[in-house]
């Protein structure tokens, strides 16, 4: 190891060495930094200085330097100007951004129309389809699935003609707004297994499945009589009652029992009988407090247009 005194120019390359010498002749070049790197470094320093002036940067006491850049937006009806920050930037973007403004215009247009007009107006409907598809994906698809086809046994299909709570726009809006609590009691204590099978046979016979006719006749007496009392919600004709969320049992559209997926007549009957035995409770949450009026309206129109809106 050597010192400053040994520092000299390397004769061969004319490059300064650091002056360190190891093992007698092993030296270390002291090459200057590449020009591009050095200027790049100075540029970052200048960038930082400019940035500090424009944007919030340095903490001082219990505050900080706010920078010269400002954002003006509206808050509570008054114009407000403050230093640049992402929250103010968002507020401004929501108020005056090109796409936000266009979106708001469309939202106002749709909010001001009644359902008849929306469903008939191609301009509104194309906006509704685009916007509500996103809302549906966020709020509804977790249960009803992205396409609205639901899950057999759990969540209703919104693409068919089957409406537990009614398929008019007003009924759909009510469902969305206040939610629904669907309840069918289990009959395990009321009906024995033969009777359960008979009720199942009757319900299947209404949908033209082949069942034992005697069973079906006995089932009809249970269904329409006081033994089962099924008619109280589903109606004497088993056409359902939308005010109770009681489904129509005659249209061969099955939400909670996988009748169509059953592989044999006996399995089909068993599935229905088991369902009657266990009963079911399903909840649709209320969205009145979570979605804006315009969003509820658009989702209603969207769901109505998915399939058999009434």
């Amino acid at each position: 190891m050597s010192t400053q005194d040994n520092r000299d120019k390397d004769q061969k390359n004319q490059v300064e060495t650091t002056g360190h010498v190891w093992d007698g002749d092993l030296q270390e070049y002291n090459n200057p930094l590449p020009r591009w790197w050095l200027w790049g470094f100075y540029a970052t320093v200048v960038f930082a200085l400019v940035y500090w002036l424009i944007y919030p940067a340095w903490p001082i006491g219990d505050s900080f330097t706010k920078g010269f850049n400002t954002i003006t937006f509206e808050q509570g009806g008054e114009e407000r100007t403050m230093h640049w920050n992402t929250r103010a930037l968002l507020a401004k973007d929501m108020q005056t951004g090109t796409y936000a403004v266009r979106q708001r215009e469309m939202l106002e247009q749709v909010a001001g129309q009644d359902y008849e007009t929306i469903l008939a107006d191609a301009d509104s409907m194309s906006f509704v389809n685009a916007y509500a598809q996103g809302s549906f994906g966020t709020w509804c698809a977790a249960c009803h699935q992205v396409g609205g086809a639901g899950v057999v046994g759990q969540y209703p299909n919104l693409r068919n003609d089957h409406w537990k709570w009614g398929g008019t726009v007003d009924q759909i809006e009510e469902t969305l707004r206040q939610g629904r609590l669907g309840y069918m009691p289990g009959y395990r204590d009321t009906l024995n297994s033969d009777q359960l099978n008979q009720v199942a046979a009757y319900v299947l016979s209404l949908n033209d499945y082949s069942v034992d006719q005697d069973d079906a006749d006995a089932g009809e007496r249970i269904f329409t009589g006081s033994d089962g009392g099924c008619f109280q919600c589903h109606g004497m004709d088993a056409q359902g009652l939308s005010s109770q969320g009681a489904p129509n049992l005659t249209n061969d559209l099955w939400g909670l029992v996988d009748v169509r997926g059953a592989e044999s007549d006996s399995e089909r009957q068993r599935l229905v009988a088991n369902f009657v035995r266990d009963g079911a409770q399903r909840e649709m949450p209320a969205f009145a407090d979570r979605l804006s009026e315009a969003e509820i309206k658009m989702l209603t129109a969207y769901v109505h247009s998915l399939g058999g809106g009434q």
Binding site: P56, P59, D62, S63, F64, F73, E74, Q75, G76, R80, M82, N85, T86, R87, A88, L89, L90, A91, D93, M94, Q95, G97, Y99, A100, G134, T138, W139, A141, A142, C143, Q145, V146, V151, Q154, Y155, E283, P285, R290
Partner: protein
């Protein structure tokens, strides 16, 4: 100091290196402790109840944060999808916070109340049964594993030490009544932690199985409270820009 003496003294080099690189951290972190606007003043944010806190522990244990963030950023598209952007105040009682840095699954900062308890339970047991295109793994054992809450008091005391206002004395309890209301303050009293945990799990029966308090009860209780504490309708647009 001579350059050479620094380069030839490893101990000194380490100390000076640490001193230099800590400047960046100090400049960025230390002011957060004394700048007035770091945490917004906002009503409604409260500590977790014992059951929610145990749910949060399970959330961390199962590594939910590796795929789910809890941070709605202030962008228009995020507001449209998730709701109001997250506030610092909303994670002030989180130790450690679960902001996360990667969204393989959706953000969960405002998932509370979005789905029913039944949905959450079914989805945690078998996600694909509800969302066929999901790649989330199932967590079926949560529904069958009884929740261990024997150490809930120790856990709450640990959180109290890092600043969560759980109460151990009557004075602290009274302060909580003042601050959060009597109903909540009762839940934050460490002396009643076990009863409160059992009580909440039985009253709300998150997992649909009233007989046992399972880990599912806890994690669903936690998920259902996420992002629901602040009533944003009480504040103007842009109000929270104040705190930036």
């Amino acid at each position: 100091m001579k350059h050479e003496s620094v380069e030839t003294n490893a101990g000194l080099l380490i100390i000076l290196t640490l001193a230099v690189i800590s400047v960046g951290g100090l400049v960025e972190i230390v002011p957060l402790f004394y700048i007035d606007d770091t945490i917004e003043e906002v009503d409604g944010v409260r500590p977790y109840t014992p059951l929610e806190q145990r749910g949060r522990d399970i959330y961390v244990r199962e590594g939910c944060y590796t795929c789910h963030s809890q941070m709605v950023r202030p962008f228009r598209d995020e507001m449209l999808r998730y709701g109001h952007y997250s506030l610092a105040a909303e994670s002030q009682y989180d130790h450690p916070f679960q902001w996360g840095s990667k969204r393989t699954g959706p953000d969960l900062a405002r998932v509370g109340g979005k789905y029913s308890n039944e949905w959450q339970v079914q989805h945690l047991i078998d996600p694909q049964s509800l969302v066929p295109e999901s790649i989330m793994p199932g967590y079926p054992w949560l529904a069958t594993t009884p929740l261990n809450y024997s150490d809930i008091e120790a856990r709450m005391i640990a959180l109290k030490r890092v600043g969560v206002p759980y109460s151990l004395t009557d004075e602290e309890y009274e302060a909580n009544v003042e601050r959060f209301g009597a109903e909540h303050a009762r839940m934050f009293d460490i002396r009643d932690a076990e009863d409160n945990l059992v009580g909440q799990a039985q009253a709300e029966n998150f997992d649909g199985n009233p007989g046992t308090i399972t880990e599912m009860d806890a994690i669903v209780a936690y998920l259902q409270v996420l992002g629901t504490m602040v009533d944003f309708s009480a504040y103007d647009d842009g109000h929270f820009a104040e705190f930036r």
